[in-house]
Point group: C2
Chain length 301, copies 2
Amino acid sequence: MKLTILGCYSATPRALTNTTSQVLEINNHMFLIDCGEGTQVELRKHKIKFNRIKHIFISHLHGDHFFGLVGLISTFRLLTRETELHIYGPKGIKEVVTLQMKLADSWTNYQLIFHELTSENSELIFEDEEVEVYTIPLNHRIYTNGYLFKEKEGNRKLDINLVEEANIHMAYYRKLAQGFDVTNNDGILIKNETVTKAGVKPKSYAFCSDTMYKEDIVPIIKNVDVLYHESTFLEKHAHLAPRTKHSTAKEAASIAKQANVGTLLLGHYSTRYDGLNLFKEEAQEVFENVELCEDGKTFNF
Amino acid sequence: MKLTILGCYSATPRALTNTTSQVLEINNHMFLIDCGEGTQVELRKHKIKFNRIKHIFISHLHGDHFFGLVGLISTFRLLTRETELHIYGPKGIKEVVTLQMKLADSWTNYQLIFHELTSENSELIFEDEEVEVYTIPLNHRIYTNGYLFKEKEGNRKLDINLVEEANIHMAYYRKLAQGFDVTNNDGILIKNETVTKAGVKPKSYAFCSDTMYKEDIVPIIKNVDVLYHESTFLEKHAHLAPRTKHSTAKEAASIAKQANVGTLLLGHYSTRYDGLNLFKEEAQEVFENVELCEDGKTFNF
């Protein structure tokens, strides 16, 4: 699981900082999460192959999270993309994109499929053999979802010595990998766990931005390996957090602790601050394993 | 008159090149012309004061000319702008901007005034004491206007020795500057041109992008000091020009020659080419005084 931070600041793109966008590589998928203005240029800078992006998840329709989307869709067209593209985001996202295409009298030559979200409850919005994606309903000024990306339980690993000792026919190896008990050549039932062990532990990543402190999300993101939680403010501006429906670094840490996550990533910093160290320090008063997002940084988990 | 090229490439923003946007400083006005994605960052890089921009002219609704507009409008709001902002552009521009504000549930705290254009004829769209702006109807795949910026004839310059010799009362100096004949202290009519000379010659700038070769614009832009004319293609791709409704460098030069302009600026280069020198060379076969736009370049006229 590899996460590339294309942008992690709030409000407006500036000469040296970008607004929210991330690329999550998980099990051969390349998911784009949020798409602030200039995201397509950041994708180029990081040499991320445009065609590998087949799913884009937009948290909410504030400009710093989606003003780069229509440009990216349009660039895909100019590059004569043929691969279909799925867009997940709040209701309205389809209208705003299609209106701009209509005004430009230009339509995509690839399939553009919108999945508009309206539910206030967490729901499964994507699933294939390896990965599931769920929404995480957040509490912001407008309808907003975070996203939970979960690898599915992988195949169990066969202990080939034990399997042969148990006299199991090769035709059953696949069933064993899938976790089933099987019958051996002598007609005896062999319990799966006596000849296999757990495969690679599946990874999970939760993206939570923008939101005020919301304990309701804890059960949804319980035990995730990595949690990105917005931390717009430091403690000295904590009074601004509920008013603007954002969080402080300490509140993000509190959610991380309650959810028992592996690592907490902070981001969506207000551009009023000069440095980032205090974000980490304040969060670590509550939860130890904190990392700071920075534009261009890559995390491997 | 000072022109700053924020971006001058066609199609899509890339790591080192930007799509169309220019800032024209003329007579204390700061006009923004077109606004591709990322324009707000380029404005910051050039330290152009956001508040000085009161008028934005959008040629047409292709993304490489206007995908940066909504972000800029939104950033103005975040910076608590109070100065009113006028947007000139094709019909539809208001709908696309206001839809995005509606979805974000955020409205400008400054006056945002749209001037939607639909005419196929050149029309006066802005005028104050010093400057006039006219549309230049172009021929592109969708409704498109260029813009003609003209300083008005300035005040005449008084020759103070001649004025005193002519025994003219000071109360009439302003009338003289405005070009009127006046009566002196002895009741004699003094012809204006005998005691004044012409003021600074008014400057003019024509922006023409995107368009295929269109001779009809020649009378509108006749004798301008500076003409920016798109030159998407070199001669070897001349066959693509009419099909995509763009121009070659040579066609831009032909328009410049017929209109007897002072300087021709080329831009809106296709991103298929590695260098720009051939654009200048091919244009100069037709018209001598050619300059190449490049991102970040400033021209003083």
